[in-house]
């Protein structure tokens, strides 16, 4: 009951923190799509490069988030941005790489070889093949990677408050330091709801981006000729 009163009394602040949170994750994952998808496509050309890139991306994922935020401080201090928004965005960007690169790579390499052969045999140049056949077919799997990245990073961004980036983590960290369960619960609840909402929203986007021909159930009619 106390928590509910707290929430109702602090709605503007919660809204503000949510916006900060969404801004960090949104900008970072947006940039991660711009880097991860091209990288994922590029490494389909070379198995060795793919292994190396996926290995590095997986390594980044294993760095504890608090440590990664900490690492940003000395590096970005060089340009006077050691704490705050920029290091948070960069950290989230790095964490987003693995799901996006890996899903893009998997989606493109899993395109039916017969389609690639048909496209090649009909006279599509490699880029035409990519844009007209491979990418449209890969979209659902790439978007699934983006969803994973967003959901994971909504959680991770809650830590970004420790380097002064704000976000919903502010309630949690203050709740801990002040042993104020109202703030703690408010922050945790808001982060969870945001993650669930974002996932559903992106599912809808994924559905919209999937070409209609792929959404259909296969062989709806088996009429012989």
């Amino acid at each position: 009951m106390e928590t509910l009163t707290f929430i109702l009394n602090n709605l503007p602040a919660i809204g503000q923190r949510t916006l900060e949170h969404v801004s960090i994750v949104g900008v970072a994952v947006g940039l991660a799509i711009l880097t991860g998808v091209p990288i994922g496509i590029a490494i389909t050309q070379n198995k060795r490069a793919a292994d190396i890139v996926l290995y590095i991306a997986a390594m980044i994922m294993t760095i504890p988030s608090i440590a990664l935020f900490g690492l940003m401080i000395p590096i970005l201090s060089q340009i006077g941005q050691g704490i705050g928004y920029l290091p948070a965005v960069i950290a989230v960007l790095l964490y987003s790489q693995l799901p996006i690169i890996r899903n893009t790579y998997t989606a493109i390499t899993n395109v039916d070889p017969a389609l690639r052969e048909a496209a090649r045999g009909m006279g599509m140049a490699p880029l035409q093949r990519l844009s007209q056949v491979e990418l449209p077919i890969a979209v659902p799997v790439i978007m699934a990677g983006v969803r994973i990245a967003v959901v994971i990073n909504i959680g991770i961004t809650a830590i970004a408050t420790y380097i002064g980036a704000g976000g919903l983590g502010a309630f949690i960290s203050r709740g801990i330091s002040q042993t104020d369960s109202r703030q703690l619960i408010t922050g945790a609840l808001a982060v969870s709801l945001l993650a669930i909402f974002a996932d559903y929203f992106l599912l809808w986007v994924q559905h919209r981006l999937t070409p209609k021909g792929l959404r259909l159930a296969p062989a709806r009619m088996a009429r012989a000729t």
Binding site: A118, G121, L216
Partner: protein, 377 residues
């Protein structure tokens, strides 16, 4: 139209270089269907793919319409050659219309022209444009998909069509139907077709020329009838099968074996006339026709002997008739089915056109062996 000149393709394998095609030379004339045949791994698909440069020959030249294919950019070259594969490979993200329009679009056609063309092609392959243009590949049956695959290959009206076991994944009943449809389309469009198959029956049915491969080498290149009648070695003979003469039945029309001069009687003719005609032509039977010339029945010599009356009184119903443009396989099959040594032939209007006998068929098929006994060794 398509000329292969000493074409070789070597692949590097762990066991050293392997030849997928070994100094292959042959030529497909304009408007002909050439079937590349052989067991798997014999180099037939590699040979096909060298024509549109999906596989680059190690040495040798391939000419299309007299022009060296090496002179083209490979991507440009492929847009001028229709390509159909066994797995069909329709793009699932595109509608039937978009699939058919792929090459016209690559060639920069006006979109309205491409769409009109797509509708036209769908009618050609017996799919109603109003229903199918906006469908997606997943909404089609396998047979329909492969029809669209053929339409897509024909979209930009290429003079040359390459088909890699195009009907291999379709069930046998539909395969026959699609083969017939394709032959019908081919008779109209007269494309030069190179067609890979591993099925001798399909080859016999479709081909003007058959090229049989074994381990990268072209073993025999000839008309289907010559391949069946005169296989040049043991391998070919085995490959085409011990029943190869039976397979030739499919290649010959009833017309060539029919005895067009076989006599007939009218229903009201007297038996004496029937008997004398049979004796005159050395036949044991005679077909009876109505006033319009349609076969009505027949009389056997044994029935007429010593009897008085008209043909109509003693005539027996005909078990079946066969069209002149049917193949001998159909005729023989009917003979077996009705247990008769001869059949009445009819022309396209259903009028009497002679008879075809088992003896006549045997003699016709045997001719080629008598003419060239040495070649059949």
């Amino acid at each position: 139209m398509i000329k292969l000149d000493n074409v070789t393709k070597a692949f590097e394998t762990q066991a050293g270089a392997a030849l997928a095609a070994d100094r292959v030379s042959f030529e497909v004339a304009a408007g002909e269907i050439c079937v590349l045949l052989g067991p798997s791994g014999c180099g037939k698909t590699t040979t096909l793919k060298m024509v549109n440069r999906l596989v680059q020959p190690t040495s040798g030249k391939i000419y299309i319409n007299g022009k060296d294919t090496d002179a083209y950019d490979p991507v440009e070259l492929r847009r001028t050659i229709g390509y159909v594969i066994q797995q069909i490979g329709l793009f699932p993200n595109m509608t039937v219309e978009e699939n058919i329009c792929v090459v016209p679009k690559l060639l920069g056609w006006d979109m309205n022209k491409a769409r009109t063309r797509a509708a036209e092609l769908l009618s050609t392959i017996n799919l109603e444009p109003a229903i199918f243009l906006k469908r997606y590949p997943k909404e089609l049956s396998g047979g329909q998909q492969q029809r669209v695959g053929v339409a897509r290959a024909l979209a930009a009206d290429p003079p040359v069509l390459l088909m890699d076991e195009p009907f291999g994944a379709i069930d046998p009943i539909n395969r026959e139907v699609i083969q017939d449809e394709f032959l019908k389309i081919h008779r109209r469009l007269k494309k030069t077709v190179m067609f890979v198959s591993h099925d001798i029956d399909e080859a016999v049915k479709m081909a003007d020329k058959v090229a049989i491969f074994r381990s990268g080498k072209l073993e025999q290149f000839d008309s289907p009838d010559n391949i069946l009648a005169h296989p040049i070695n043991e391998f070919i003979a085995d490959f085409v099968g011990t029943d190869r003469t039976l397979k030739r039945l499919r290649l010959v029309k009833v017309e060539s074996a029919a005895h067009a001069g076989a006599p007939r009687v009218a229903a009201e003719d007297r038996l004496e006339r029937a008997t004398s005609l049979m004796n005159e032509h050395g036949q044991e039977f005679i077909v009876m026709v109505d006033a319009a010339g349609r076969p009505q029945g027949y009389l056997g010599l044994d029935i007429c002997r010593g009897q008085e009356g008209t043909a109509a009184e003693f005539g027996t119903r005909l078990p079946a008739t066969v069209g002149l443009d049917e193949d001998l396989r159909t005729a023989v099959s009917m003979m077996f089915m009705f247990d008769v040594p001869w059949l009445t032939c009819v022309d396209e209007n259903g009028l009497y056109a002679g008879v075809v006998t088992q003896r006549g068929i045997t003699r016709l098929l045997g001719d080629t062996y008598r003419d060239a006994p040495k070649r059949a060794a």
